[in-house]
Symmetry: C2
């Protein structure tokens, strides 16, 4: 299982991914799902991946090596040289199609799905940060202020806190806290999602540095956030008046 | 879609179900999913249902009319006369099998699933309240104190609040509040789950009355609970210290 979250806010871009992969409950591993696809003075591009690891790694591998040109003459096409994030999303969608078309004939007879989805986020040139959700067929949508987040993988447990708490004006520190709480809810209810969690924070102001960080299983801040949240929820539930139609218990 | 929740606590039994059914997003209706199966001085038996309405209504209909005896001679078998909740669960499981076996040949060619699941809760004689989850194949499990709740239908959005807040010693008024919050989270994230919500509360002490109630779409208490909860969460998120590795935003 997997849980990845991207938030596009007025203040910047946040991307977060867990690292647990499993083939059955008796075969767990830790693999990176938040990838740096381009890192240069004029661009920083990141992707979170969900789906069979052999497929997502192939997509990332192909993007790192570059896709052949359409007519076979122009050399390779690469995220290092796309002029916008929109063109980056096109190239990633194409990589998904190329990899799935190549792998499907071998995997389909074994009933192994090649479905994948990706969050693609970052900045090219002087563009503000942008965030895309790339579907399994290679088509994609872009994040907009009215719905300022995308999730892929195990999305449901961690969604209520975002629906209630996040909007496009949320400042980055609060957004990262809400993202952590969303992951905490998911990890409590699904053993297939677990720390370490990889995190990327890109402030909209491009003079501020991009932060990447791994939250380890014993991370003190995350542990305290989880504990404080549980306490706050318990207190909040007690504070709300009891249902008037029930005798006091 | 559907969301049903049962809680078996030291203080008693809580069952809750939404009422929305839909065939596509353009065809919504309101149908009762929390059913009274037996109501007599020596027994109160309730069921919540999830699955295709034509199947669940047939199961409830068959249980209300009674199942034929095994040898065809003894008349019908009925929840009015089972000696324990365990036997009630057996009979409901059998009704599921009978209905699905009868309907499957007609529905399968149309790719219509006959899968259903039920929560069966209540009390027979001097037994303490018991709660069962009846699967689509007619087999079932019984709720135990270590995991004091069952969910069927759209279970994930509403689970984190229960995982964090509920244990078998939770008093009934707080349990009902947590159940409402679980429904509130689910309804915010899935339009296929909606008020009215039907509610049943059976105190363990059988001298106290069983309460049944419908929470309407304009219920003032529920609206205030939802509002207060959103406020409390926002406040709690602000109270937790910001991540130490981020600049203050």
């Amino acid at each position: 299982m997997t849980y990845c979250l991207g938030m596009l806010l007025d203040a910047g871009l946040v991307m977060m991914a867990d690292t647990r992969t499993n083939a059955g409950v008796d075969n767990f591993s830790c693999y990176r799902k938040l990838h740096t696809l381009a890192e240069a003075p004029d661009r920083q591009i990141f992707a979170c991946t969900s789906g069979s690891l052999s497929v997502t790694q192939s997509v990332i591998g192909l993007l790192n090596e570059g896709l052949p040109s359409h007519d076979g003459t122009d050399g390779i096409r690469h995220l290092d040289s796309v002029p916008t994030m929109f063109r980056a999303a096109h190239l990633v969608g194409e990589a998904v199609q190329v990899v799935r078309n190549a792998m499907d004939p071998a995997l389909a007879p074994h009933d192994i799905s090649t479905s994948v989805s990706l969050l693609l986020g970052g900045r090219v040139g002087t563009e503000a940060p942008r965030l895309f959700l790339i579907y399994s067929a290679g088509n994609f949508i872009e994040c907009q202020p009215e719905s300022p987040f995308f999730q892929i993988g195990e999305t449901k447990y961690g969604r209520p806190i975002l629906d209630r708490g996040l909007n496009c004006m949320t400042p980055l520190p609060l957004a990262v806290k809400l993202a952590f709480l969303s992951f905490d809810s998911t990890m409590r209810s699904n053993l297939g999602v677990a720390r370490p969690i990889d995190l990327m924070v890109m402030p909209k102001d491009n003079r501020q540095p991009v932060l990447t960080r791994r939250i380890q299983p014993d991370d003190t801040y995350f542990n305290e956030l989880s504990l404080e949240w549980a306490k706050a929820l318990a207190k909040a539930a007690l504070t709300i008046p009891n249902p008037p139609f029930l005798p006091e218990g």
